[in-house]
Symmetry: C2
Subunit: 219 residues, 2 copies
Amino acid sequence: MITEHAAARGRAGRMTAMTTGNPSRADVNRRRILDVALAELLRDPDASMDQIARAAGVVRRTVYGHFPSREALVGTLTDEAVAAVAAAHAAGREGVVDPAESVARSTLAVWEIADRYRLLVALAQRSVTMQGIRERLTPVREASTEILRRGLEQGVFASPLPPYALAYVHEQTLFALMEAVNDGLLEAREAGSSAAFTMLTAAGVPASRATELVAKLSD
Amino acid sequence: MITEHAAARGRAGRMTAMTTGNPSRADVNRRRILDVALAELLRDPDASMDQIARAAGVVRRTVYGHFPSREALVGTLTDEAVAAVAAAHAAGREGVVDPAESVARSTLAVWEIADRYRLLVALAQRSVTMQGIRERLTPVREASTEILRRGLEQGVFASPLPPYALAYVHEQTLFALMEAVNDGLLEAREAGSSAAFTMLTAAGVPASRATELVAKLSD
DNA sequence: CTTCATTTGCACAGCACTGTGCAATCTCGT
DNA sequence: ACGAGATTGCACAGTGCTGTGCAAATGAAG
């Protein structure tokens, strides 16, 4: 029984697999389970071990042979995804001195490995609860979109993004800043104007204009 | 038995409560349950009905007297939160013609009701899975922070936000754009440069410079 | 003090999982 | 065809919930 997921941790599977490069049956299965799990969790982040096992053409018990727990499986997966993202991010910024170029390069690099990164997004945004929230926020998002659409049309905003995608960005930006407050990185009182500023610049409004506007409004 | 949560839907509680303005005992309890549940779910988005009930100084069975299911309770709460957000957002933009001012005003307005809005954030970002992801992404976020710190220092970036908060924003922005791709609003291929552009402007880089830089890099 | 709405306290059924143990079976490489 | 390693198929224990039914206690309003 594969030494009951010993392979999962230290890769101490079997002579053949260690010395020769060709992977053992267990190695292949383990890989297949991970790959299928990725796809399956992308569809449904709450997929059970049974769903994953069946999708991988294997029995639930076998999955437990490779991973001691569901958490371990998902953990391995996110570890791989994060590692890929981290590598891309690092590669993007290596040897670059200009911070702006670093940001741009690393973003582009991360975007390249979207497949892996997408797992993280799916896991993050697709919980049952999250679905409900985003659905309920739709009217607000649509009102936002309309404003953004007008602003882009008039040239007040500058962005290659379609208005609706920009509305997504705005929504998530607010979430990010609220979370920053929750984590004590930001003082709630003063952060309001910072939030407004960020929303404006994210839409492509020049920083100077944003500063001026926010100052005017929060007197 | 309060007609078993009839009050939850159509408010058909009782003569006294309907005619006179003073709320019945049930009404008071219902309100208290909602308020406590808000606080409790803020601490732990996965709080069970029992935890909520106890915190409200009431027995689990009583909560079921007011809300037919956990989902209904959470739903009522998010409905209230979203309604508050929507109202603030609408109030912020009413009668404003300039889109930039609309965005700024509505952001500030929404920020005012942070308490309610925070529930949505907590529910959205605090799932067990999400915790794991954010934790694992920490090294990447820190590398990002360092770049942002340098950029802010040099004046390449302009933002009132501390670097770490800006890193939160960047992280969430990428999530937003990936989700936009997942939802078919954006073409994955071309979106890379849009993403880079958005990350730059969010950091306060002028749109013109962002355009130029991204164009140079994605040739 | 009566009455009616509400709340309480259990008990119970059910569900959808997660992890494990073990014997039987399969499948390679040799 | 052998044998070690891997997989399968059950069965089972355990967990931590959710949602319900019902009789008894409580409390406020008249």
